[in-house]
Amino acid sequence: MTERSVYLDYAATTPADQRVVDAMLPYLTEHYGNANSMYRLGRDASRALEDARERVARAIGAARPDEVIFTSCGTESDNTAIIGLATAAGRTSGHIIVSAFEHHAVLEPAWRLGKQGFEVTELPPRPDGTVHPDDLAAALRDDTVLVSVMHGNNEIGTVQPIAELATLAHERGALLHTDAAQTLGKIDFDVAALGVDAASFSGHKIYAPKGTGALYLKGGTRMTPYLIGGGQESKRRSGTQNVAGAVAFATALELMDAERPAEGPRLAALRDRLVDGLLGRIEYAQLNAADAPVRLPHIANFVIPGVEGEAMLLHLDAAGIAVSTGSACSSGSLKPSHVLLSIGCPVEFAHGSLRVSLGRYTTEADVDYLLETLVPVVDRLRQMNPLYEKMVAGLAGAAD
């Protein structure tokens, strides 16, 4: 058995970058003050926090630093935005549109609002994995208060035309929130260019520690705070601020932005090597949402007919490789990925889905090792599949 360890699940989480850790550590030990205290330790912490806020605001193109609210994670940012914007100014009803392939951190609060007086439309993406502006235009109503469409999808890596969608939402008087957990730092991200009212970010997707995040909220936008208490973050997010986390988030984001001109094309080339290699070596394999007009450089999602995802994952894990799947068997709910189903992927194909996501420490050798390892794993699982021959006959027939 090999000792090799190849991490190819960067869309799930990233390791904290040593430079980020170095920047944050002093705020855990030396400058540990509460940013809300008046004495020197507190002022030092507050200064670091506000400096981090300014750096994040600059990086995302915000008009003012106070448009950045630090949170504990992407989930908190999403929950806060959906519930806080929908129920702003005491609103108890209205129409909300969310895309059908949102992360559950957006879907769950929308569903909860749906039980509490709001009407929720789940807008399906097209088979290319993209939410089409015409479809949003058709779904918008006079009473639509909020639209939430993710910027980059975490499973299939497709990028949504947020600027167009925001314009359409605004024309009908609705706000637009975007979950940018997967795009921040990975592709250009500018709140002004996108025209969004709110955007969610997660630190652990950009080499900052888990449990860090931020929410962009455009100046003047009313939002009911989700966490209430001491009134921190200008009353929009109570709770003693995680100064070290804010410093880490700002540092991580600046590193992403500084390195992107080289890193973006490097990752895209690795992804293309992966896609070409996998489709070339594994019969009947397909790239999900292959026709997407814009995709993230670091995520590729495949269907490998005739195998089950969890079994594939376990064999790869035995060879030291970490990847993920949308198979029903591997999900706690025993349901296949709602993202794959939303783009029209048949249930039995979702069963054999494989998501590979690349990052800062991925090399060509890692991609090649995955390909080398995957080929015999797929052969072996297909040989154990009692229906494989029948399935192949169907696949061959479908190709005619």
Binding site: G306, V307, E308, E310, A311, L314, H315, A318, S327, A328, C329, S330, G332, L334, K335, V347, E348, H351, L381, Q383, M384, N385, P386, L387, Y388, M391
Partner: protein
């Protein structure tokens, strides 16, 4: 969710994989749409399972339970073989995660079907019919478990 070492052993090195070409009985269960499919072929000597092979499309637990069921059943009388329960299978594997208990039904049902197939081919009464979970039109392999074990 963590699998026991024994589950991982049977998953990584499944025993008795394949198809017996001149099988005396064949059992196939599952539904390709939910992804769980299993096929068992048996040779019967003197009303005992002489040889047995399986093929499974499914998760780690589905493959491991299929493998261990073939080991357990080899040499058993037909009556003993159809009496193997999913709890016995799980126990033999050192336990299964609660969410994976249902996977073992695939293997026990496959075996029951193979035995009945053998009996019917020989003009005898099937003995497992009525106890096969996958024959129940309302059977949902991914439904909440039936309380045989604690969650």
């Amino acid at each position: 969710m963590i699998y026991s070492d024994k589950v991982m052993d049977h998953f990584g090195n499944p025993r008795n994989v394949g198809v017996i070409a001149d099988a005396d009985g064949v059992g196939e269960v599952g539904n390709p749409v939910c992804g769980d499919v299993m096929k068992i072929t048996i040779k019967v000597d003197d009303d005992r399972i002489g040889d047995i092979k399986f093929q499974t499309l499914g998760c780690g637990a589905a493959i491991a339970t299929s493998s261990i069921v073939t080991e357990m059943a080899k040499g058993m009388t037909l009556a003993e073989a159809v009496a193997i329960t999913k709890s016995q299978v799980a126990e033999e594997l050192g336990g299964l995660p609660p969410a994976k208990m249902h996977c073992s039904v695939l293997a026990t049902d496959g075996l029951k079907k193979a035995v009945d197939d053998y009996l019917v081919r020989h003009g005898r009464e099937p003995i497992a019919v009525g106890t096969i979970a996958h024959d129940d039109p309302d059977f949902d392999p991914h439904a909440e478990d039936d309380g045989e074990h604690a969650h």
